[in-house]
């Protein structure tokens, strides 16, 4: 059984969003998604949200999911993971044959969190890794390991920032677009050297909604669906002392599964555009290596500006990547449009994790 994306909606993405509660933001994105998918609320069987507790400020964030989706009393649960983890969970749910149409939701009110670094630091192991320092220390150390193990240079890492933030200038949904040089990036304020400020994505507010369904549902309701031909997820170990910080095993495991399901043998040739997590600039290169593509390809990577251009939305981050990819497949990416029939969407959960998702989406259903 195939699973399709019937429609999507967003609200954002902006550095702040005063004037909209999280509920109002999500409801707005949901209405956009439902209309796009061609479905009414009563046609939707249930919802999966992607949320963690502390970004919401609630001890049980899951409580506040159903109302603004119109999903009261329906089958609803939360995946404390990236939006793309929730997509993967919803896709499994549909593949059991017991659900036809599900909605996937996530949002960020990053601007409402006054102590973001403190919160991210709180994700580190209190016994071994929770230093009285910025949580970016792990990204800085990763970057160092990545450079010395792979032969990439700091200039190549900075080039990712130049390209992505540059691409975002043309993207009206991306608040962090600007024209930087490699020297600007390397010379920007040190955060955790060799990591500098411009290599780290800024935060943004926004909501993302996707409506998923069976191929039959897509055929019946959606005007412009996209088809998930493969989706995998994977996690590197949580024990930082015994993790190789120069690579992303989580990505490799996820990609292996997604490629198998969609019959991809040579990703550098078969995939037209890559939407890959670049929350830190080096992570884009690291993820592209783990995807088996590296830098030896002509395809577009993050043509919309990526996370560096669009902002880190915490759990909703992968949703923004999916929205960018979905728009590309439909020819609705405006000034960021490239030619794409098959795209790859990748998500990473940010430090201290190496938990990743890889999905392959097609403009038309392909038969293996």
């Amino acid at each position: 059984m195939g699973v399709a994306v019937l429609g999507m909606g967003i609200c954002g993405f902006t550095p702040t969003s005063t004037g909209l509660s999280y509920r109002e933001m999500i409801a707005k994105a949901a209405k956009m998604a439902y209309r796009d998918a061609g479905v009414t609320v009563d046609r939707i069987d249930g919802a999966v949200s992607a949320e963690e507790d502390f970004p919401s400020g609630y001890s049980i964030a899951d409580e506040y999911v159903p109302d603004q989706l119109g999903m009261v009393r329906k089958p609803v649960y939360t995946i404390p993971g990236d939006f793309m983890h929730a997509v993967a969970s919803a896709a499994m749910q549909i593949e059991t044959g017991r659900f036809d149409i599900l909605v996937v939701e996530s949002y960020s009110k990053a601007s409402n969190i006054l102590t973001k670094d403190e919160m991210v630091r709180f994700a580190f192991d209190p016994v071994f890794n929770r230093f009285g320092l910025s949580p970016h220390w792990l990204a800085g150390l990763e970057l160092n390991s990545f450079l010395s193990e792979t032969g990439y240079t700091i200039e190549e890492v900075a080039e990712v920032v130049v390209k992505n933030r540059g691409a975002a200038v043309a993207n009206s949904n991306a608040p962090y677009g600007d024209n930087f040089s490699v020297d600007d990036v390397i010379g920007s304020r040190p955060v955790s050297l060799p990591l500098t400020e411009l290599m780290c994505a800024g935060y943004a507010d926004g909501a993302v909604i996707a409506v998923l369904g069976t191929d039959q549902a897509a055929h019946r309701y959606a005007k412009k669906p996209a088809y998930i031909s493969g989706i995998g997820w994977g996690s590197g170990t949580s024990i930082l002392e015994r993790r190789d910080h120069s690579l992303s095993i989580g990505t490799a495991i996820a990609a292996d599964r997604a490629y198998k399901e969609s019959g991809v043998i040579d990703p550098a040739r078969e995939i037209d555009a890559f939407f890959v997590s670049d929350t830190y600039a080096h992570r884009q290169l690291m993820h592209m290596e783990a995807l088996g593509v590296g830098d030896n390809h002509d395809q577009a990577v993050n043509p919309d500006g990526g996370v560096l251009g669009g902002g880190d939305l915490f759990e909703a981050t992968g949703g923004a990547r999916l929205y960018a990819a979905f728009s590309q497949l439909r020819g609705e990416a405006g000034r960021c449009q490239v030619n794409a029939e098959r795209v790859l969407v990748h998500a990473w959960r940010g430090v201290p994790s190496d938990s990743c998702v890889v999905a392959i989406l097609d403009k038309a259903r392909r038969v293996l």
Binding site: R73, P80, E95, K109, A123, L141, R242
Partner: protein, 738 residues
């Protein structure tokens, strides 16, 4: 159509008030045991899914990520699911999805909870489950909402406090033979009734204890179950439903959402009449009334007559026709939230495969149902499991399992073992948005403001901008409402939000009040005042007592409390008003924080690390499965999920033999503020061992270092956390002499 999914193995730790083990260590012990029970290696497991309730318990943001290694999820597809207290029964449902979808052949399902790090009491984590604008300022906690629901349940269904005490006593007795049980006791209803009154009608022994524990089960497809020659117990039906978060807007006496989840599960399982077709029941029982409250829904009987008859005739006992909580439930075995739900699933597996030992129900069993509940009186998860009628397993180790056989190390106090303290500074300013800003503007003016959902003809309080039950239809008409109403339910509380006692002789009376002139099911929660607690009755009329205008700030505390209306007449008028205009000043923010701090045990591996560190030493742990010494010291090997003993399997490492594997120069502190002087974090490896140690590098003026530079551990003056792990550069001679 779905593949059939079987449970073929279970593992669990003891349920404990405080465990020495770190969260990952608890999980690893349950996983190891489940693997052995199923006769599998971790390599046979295709995917791992983990259930755990709020991060505020364990005190780790993104707790699911932290638990990857312990759950056996390293280098595997791994995902956490979460639905508050209903998580534990969502766990097998999520595992079922992994296998029923055909995506994976096998899935390790793990539930872990470590509530004890949360100080001063885990109950404090519940302050921030309530709506931050309309409820949190009242300083409610979970016990209050349970008490409100319990009072309503007793009022509608006619149960007495003694009736419910009987339920508590029965379930705690059932736990006497559960090997994991934390507080199994043979008590009488009088003992329950005599326990301290916390928030009427809730007494201490009406409630399950807080606990640390982990449970794991192995789920596989039918082909694999048959190949392993297991007596499989199959998942026959699953259901999960989530109600509105506006819990004051519905009658708490009956959990419709549980009934709906049950109906979903029954439809899938082909169950027509649950009273006839299900042999035993494991409803979630965090409070005694909850078992009956949920059983009403599991038997799809809103009148409550079926359960009342079963209760009155003693049929809910282990010897009765419809045994309820034969495991001993949350009330007896303990309540490590997510792990409790999975413990109930384990009980279905034990009973249906004849592995329940002295708890075994003495008649042929075909089907059982387990259920969990959670969020704001809101989430229901239901699983039906069935046996095939095969002869029960006779040679199961579970039949003779004792508490001593189960892993887990209970401790009296966290101060008895090495530990680390931390108080995160988690502060927020939440955008209230248009509707709530309009509502708060009303409170400042001494008005309760609602909005009219014209599709359903409901006046909604607090004001909302859309209809949550009618296609998200826009709601644009705002009204000032009467500030009087009727008490739907109440509780008389003797405790604060953090479970500390109120000053002697003082109480807080919390009530759900249905406001006048609008739909009966639209209410709000607030305090009652100007009344003797013994005079409070469900159905009494009350009216808001407002603070003087000069003291109102635009918050729910602008109403001091609701007081009895007596014979006075309420003003029932409603006035349509113009909502606030949208500008940055009118759009308000609500400031808040998460007021918790933590005392973590260092765990078994961490305990060894810190006791070594205090002596200026480092040791690794020999992991036989990979024939390697791993650092830092570990209680389990994340590759094989074998259990290690960091004391017995210790291998000394020369603390002067390290070299820098990687490093970073950090310019910001934990809050993101610039440091006065940058700090160097190093990852240090040692020859011949796998792994590394992270710490600070002491750098003197002009000292150069790079990857590969030799370093030596500095013996710390005090040992109270990772910041104390420090290295300094050493001369090459030190290394070469090693």
């Amino acid at each position: 159509m779905s593949n059939r999914v079987a449970v073929i193995g279970v593992g669990m730790t003891k349920f404990m008030r405080r465990a020495q083990e770190a969260p990952g260590e608890l999980a690893a012990q349950a996983v190891r045991m489940a693997l052995e029970d199923a006769g599998l290696d971790i390599d046979d497991i295709d995917a791992v899914t983990l259930g755990t309730a709020p991060d505020a318990f364990d005190g780790i943001h993104m707790k699911g990520e932290h638990l990857i290694a312990g759950a056996g999820g390293s280098n595997k597809p791994y995902m956490r699911h979460f639905i508050g207290g209903a998580t534990g029964v969502m766990s097998p449902i999520h595992g079922w999805m992994h296998v029923a979808s055909g995506k994976y052949n096998s899935c390790m399902v793990v539930a872990e909870e470590k509530m004890s790090p949360c100080t001063p009491h885990p109950a404090g984590a519940f302050l921030t489950i309530f709506d931050r604008v309309t409820e949190q300022p009242l300083e409610l906690t979970l016990i209050h909402i349970f008490a409100l629901e319990m009072a309503r349940f007793m009022h509608v269904y006619g149960y007495s406090e003694r009736d419910l005490a009987e339920v508590s006593a029965m379930i705690k007795r059932n736990a006497l033979h559960h090997p994991a049980a934390q507080i199994a006791m043979d008590l009488s209803a009088d003992d329950i009734l005599k326990s301290p009154l916390l928030s009427w009608p809730v007494k201490r022994l009406d409630i399950s204890p807080t606990s640390d524990a982990a449970v794991a089960i192995v789920m596989v497809n039918e082909r694999m179950a048959r190949a392993l020659k297991k007596a499989p117990v199959f998942i026959e039906g699953v259901g999960f439903r989530l109600e509105t978060a506006y819990w004051c807007a519905r009658d708490l006496c009956y959990p419709d959402y549980v009934a709906m989840a049950a109906k979903d599960a029954y439809r899938m399982a082909g169950i027509v009449d649950p009273v006839r077709d299900i042999d035993f029941f494991e409803p979630y029982d965090p409070f005694d009334y909850k078992a009956l409250h949920h059983l009403n829904a599991l038997l799809l009987d809103k009148t409550g007559r079926t359960v009342r008859n079963l209760f009155d005739s003693g049929s809910l006992s282990r010897e009765g026709s419809h045994p309820m909580c034969p495991s001993g439930g949350a009330l007896g075995v303990g309540n490590p939230i997510a792990a409790t739900g999975l413990m109930k699933i384990a009980e279905l597996y034990f009973q249906l495969s004849g592995q329940a030992g002295k708890r075994q129900l003495q008649r042929p069993l075909r089907r059982g149902v387990a259920q969990a509940w959670g969020d704001l009186m809101q989430a229901g998860t239901v699983v039906v499991m069935g046996a095939e009628g095969a002869p029960p397993v006779t040679s199961s180790r579970w039949n003779d399992m004792t508490r001593e056989d189960l892993p887990g190390t209970p401790i009296k106090s966290v101060d008895d073992v090495p530990g680390i303290s931390d108080a995160p500074d988690l502060r927020y300013a939440w955008d209230n948005g248009f509707a709530i800003s309009t509502y708060l503007d009303g409170l400042k003016k001494g008005k309760i403001r609602g909005s009219l959902d014209t599709r359903t003809n409901r006046m909604m309080v607090p004001a909302r901008p859309f209809s949550e039950i009618a296609d998200l239809a826009p709601v644009t008409n705002y009204f000032d409402l009467p500030d009087s109403g009727v008490v739907k339910t109440f509780t008389i509380s003797h405790v604060n939000w953090d479970s500390s006692p109120l000053p002697k002789g003082t109480v807080n009376i919390f009530a759900v009040i249905a406001l006048d002139g609008i739909n009966e099911d639209m209410g709000l929660v607030h305090k009652l005042g100007d009344i003797d607690p013994k005079d409070v009755k469900i159905g009494m009329r009350v009216k808001a007592v407002w603070k003087p205008q000069s003291k109102r700030t635009g918050g729910i505390l602008d109403i001091e409390y609701f007081a009895p209306l007596g014979r006075k007449k309420a003003n029932l008028g409603m006035t349509q008003i113009k909502p606030v205009e949208v500008d940055v000043l009118a759009m308000s923010q609500k400031q808040g924080k998460i007021p918790l701090s933590y005392r973590y045990t260092a765990g078994v591996g961490g305990g060894k690390f810190y006791s070594d560190l205090a002596k200026g030493k480092i040791s690794g742990t020999y992991a036989a499965a990979r024939d390697e010494v791993i650092i830092p010291p570990a209680m389990f090997d994340e590759e094989s999920l074998s259990i290690l003993d960091p004391e017995k399997d210790a291998r000394a490492i020369n603390p002067g033999s390290g070299f820098i594997r990687s490093f970073t120069v950090v310019y910001e502190d934990r809050q993101g503020r610039q440091l006065d002087k940058e700090k160097v974090v190093v990852q240090v490896e040692f020859p011949g061992v796998t792994g590394s140690i992270f710490g600070m590098l002491e750098v003197k003026n002009d000292e150069d270092f790079e990857e590969g530079s030799p370093v030596t551990l500095v013996k710390p003056k005090k040992v109270n956390g990772p910041d104390m792990v420090t290295f300094r550069l050493s001369s090459r001679q030190v290394v070469s002499s090693f």
